[in-house]
């Protein structure tokens, strides 16, 4: 670790900084972390993620790991999944969680919002057909509740169903008897989470590990 650590200002870093909006310092920190995770390899594999001890207790671990290998999240209009990611991809994924700069226009804020929600959406939409179907959503809920042992799968299922129904009634309003609600589209997703201030919540402070924040 640290062998490949480059000083800020190298052309590579400039490129990365431009693409992801991270500061050199942040890129440096993340690079170190990347190397640590990948054991000084150039690419990260799924196993590397699975080995992170803290992640083990996370109920939606697999979804999050998948999100790192999902081409849709690389901001390059790709599709499908990859087997390994390099540092640049890693950084791009992380940049989804970068706090927006404090002074942005309303449009930019909206764009940030869309971007962040798109990430969430992609996480749930595993087969990439543009909708979160009932099956997919059930899966999410099951995983979410998997840690609290008291609730069984069926509860998860009925909760997922109820949530889906709620979505249907919110986004479609009145449905004709023979209409079929296939799943949540992205537009609906935006509408659903309207009250959810994601642009200010889906943020992580990428700073040095030892500047643990005392105040928040």
């Amino acid at each position: 670790m640290g062998a490949l650590q480059s000083s800020p200002g190298e052309p590579e870093y400039v490129h990365l900084a431009k693409r992801t909006g991270f500061s050199f310092q942040q890129i440096g920190i993340l690079h170190r972390r990347f190397k640590q995770l990948s054991h000084n390899e150039d690419t990260l594999l799924r196993e590397h993620f699975r080995k992170i001890p803290d992640l083990e207790s996370n109920p939606i671990r697999s979804q999050i790991i998948e999100a790192f290998f999902d081409r849709r999240n690389f901001r390059q209009n790709g599709e499908g999944t990859v087997e390994a990611i390099g540092f640049e991809e890693f950084l791009v994924i992380m940049s989804h969680f970068r706090p927006p700069s404090p002074h942005i226009t309303e449009e930019q804020r909206e764009a940030v919002r869309r971007d962040k929600l798109r990430f969430l959406f992609n996480m749930h939409d595993t087969d990439n057909d543009g909708t979160i179907t009932l099956e997919e959503y059930r899966h999410v809920v099951e995983e979410l509740l998997s840690l609290s042992g008291a609730l069984e799968k069926d509860t998860a299922k009925s909760i997922a169903d109820a949530a889906m129904l709620e979505v249907a009634s919110i986004s479609m309003g009145h449905m004709e008897p023979d209409e079929f609600y296939e799943g949540i589209t992205f537009e609906h997703f935006l509408k659903l989470l309207n009250g959810f201030e994601i642009e200010s919540r889906m943020n992580i402070r990428f700073l040095n590990m030892d500047t643990t924040t005392l105040c928040k």
Binding site: D54, M94, S148, L165, L192, L193, S200, F206, C215
Partner: protein
Amino acid sequence: MAATRRFALFLCTLLMGLVQSAATVTADAGHNTGQEAATNSSSGDEGGTGDHGGEGGTGGHETAPVTTLAIVSWKWTHVSTPYLVALWILVSWLCKLIIEANHHVTNVIPESALLICFGFILGGMIWGADMVQTFKLTPTVFFYFLLPQIILDAGYSMPNKLFFGNMGAILVYAVIGTCWNAASLGLSLWGCHQAGAMGQLDVGLLQYLLFGSLIAAVDPVAVIAVFEQVHVNEVLFILVFGESLLNDGVTVVLFNVFDSFVSLGGPRINAVEIIKGIISFFVVAFGGSLLGLVFGVLISLLTKVTQNIKIIEPGFIFVLGYLAYLTAEMLSLSAILSITFCGVSCQKYINANMDKNSVTTVKYVMKVFANGSETIIFVFLGISAIDKEIWVWNTGFILLTLLFVCVYRIIGVFFLTSILNRYRLVRVEFIDQVIMSYGGLRGAVAYGLAAMLNQSKIKEKNLMICTTLLVVYFTVILQGITMKPLVNWLKVKKAAVTELTLIESLQSKAFDHMLVAIEDISGQIGHNYMRDKWNQFEERWMTRILMKKSARKGRDYVFKVFHQLNLKDAIDYVAEGERRGSLEFVRNESAFIDFKKKFGDDLPDITAGMSDDHTIMCSMSTIDHVPSVSLEMHEQNMKGVREPEDINTHHLLQQHLYKGRKQHRHRYSRSHFNVNKDENEVQEIFQRTMRNRLESFKCAKMGVAQPKKISKHAKKDQQQKVPNGESTNNSKRYFAGDKDFQFPEGEASGFTASGGSYPLPMMVSYTAGGGIENPAYIPDLDPLNAAIPPWLIEAELDGGPVAPSQRAQMRLPWTPSDLSRLAPLRCSTRSNDSFAQADTPSAQQRGDEAPTPSKRDGHNM
């Protein structure tokens, strides 16, 4: 409305007169001077036994030589203290009643300001009658009897996640901000004094600092009262609210430190003393908080074992909370912090441990106490002003204090926020800062502390009280009134009134996990990481120790939302039924659940040959702890409901809801709420229904008052007459048992429905008798009911495997719409009438749900 107001006003005036005359009597009757009476009767507010009452009482006995037996005697002195307390509480609350009757006024002027104004009026009346200040808020009453419940309530209803999420900022504001306010105010006033802005005043630097410390703190009572009506966004609210709660503790500590400094005297204060002061500050603050946590744990542990004394269960919270306050006071720790953290730490566990009713009780009683004493505090803040003694005017001192209070608050907030914003992910916006600095309301705590000042050490005590009161009035009334327009004008982000949706709570949960995961991956030890670790720790240890085993189950957040939504639906559902005058539209699925639950193990066998919706219903009903009735209410759903089912459902529901005429025979018990279901009652209901039936039979026979047939019922019964090939023995037996009762019925009502073609008791032939048109009230006439009272039916059903609904076999497998929330998603939620469409999803459902019942049975039973 107007009438209420007038009435309340009248009552209030009346009572005022009463209080006054009572007070006058007290003053006259006792051998005390007016002033002594004042202190006594006001300290009598404690609810304790004022010594005056006792004294006067004995005096009364002594002076009246017993000559003859008095049938009644005037014993005012015996009761004067508690009586006055009760009267004052009543008067204050009536003030609130009057104020709340005028919504257009409270929309403009906050309630707290109005209450103070009412206090002025009341005080004026007392003054007019007595010419002395008879009642005022004394520190003892305030700190021991009025404040604790307000703080406890604040702690108990604290949004924990938000509070601890912003803990850092709150602490910075509360500790550093308050110290800054106190120091800067004291020093500036002293500076101005030195510069000669105040003329002749006997106040030294330490006294100024003492004054600064007592007036530095933002008051929780005032802040909550004003901010509650403004609805600012939750982050801003928690910052102001949390700050006001915690800085009260800080200010009391500061006050005590400076107070002892003052007693110590200037020259004797050296570095050691100052360091001691600082140490004592931290010891007092943290010790108090810790003590509160200890008491919180105690309460949680205690509620684990109180299930057998449900009635006094809620009392423990209040008693222990109060003890937390008193213990801290006894150990000279911060009592306010203690009771705050007591409430904060125990809320989660006691809410889970206690009975649902107890939780509701705690919540309500807490609000009654808190709101009630808040009202009293404000009224008395007003009353206290009408006192010639305390009004010592010193233009320089008062105006400068007002100025500095405002200015330093603004400076403090902006300075601290600018530092905090560097570390905060969600910045505190400029506008929010403006509101925060403007929301620096001072209140009764400051007044209480000022009143505690020692006259002998601080010569200008009255000036300080007077200034404090003015600051309080200025901030509460002026700033309180202007707060709302300011918030609107600055377009402060308001609290979003979002309806509780399942999807959002699911999302936010997933979201939290995601943030934690990303922090883990990126190797940050951030806020989310800490919270996650804490949650894990809590899950593993705290809940295990502090929570009942049964309560630990199913307190998942998402599940709770789900449960709440279901409850809401069910309530809507009933409300809709009541609006329509009957629960006719209720579908029988929901009703069957009750039966199903009783079946338990037999279910799979029975349902094996049955149609799908049964299977589904079973699986639903057997989910442990999952609310089994989940109904989505929509107009269109109900319109499409098919009527025959309604009738049956209606019946089933009625059987369950059926209450005997004397069901609520009140048996007094201090420790239990009873609903008695004894033998007599069964007998009584039986006879009653029999009589009804006989009467209707007679009517029909004689041709008098021919019972009306409701045509749609008749129609329905026709539909139900479909012969049922699969009827089980049990249902046959039922039928046989029914027969005797049924024949007159059939004859009387002219229905052909009864008899062999009508095998299932549950699907009773529906008779509209005695001219009752509303089907909701018919079930008394029901033959089945007559034969077997509801509970007996259940008992018998328990005995053997009975197919609860034969008709269900004829019914469509899936006729949904009311259980939509629980039911797996159907392709069309509104297709009540299109059977063909409904078939498809149900097939899918069968696959999903069929195996579940057997799996869950073990759980259920």
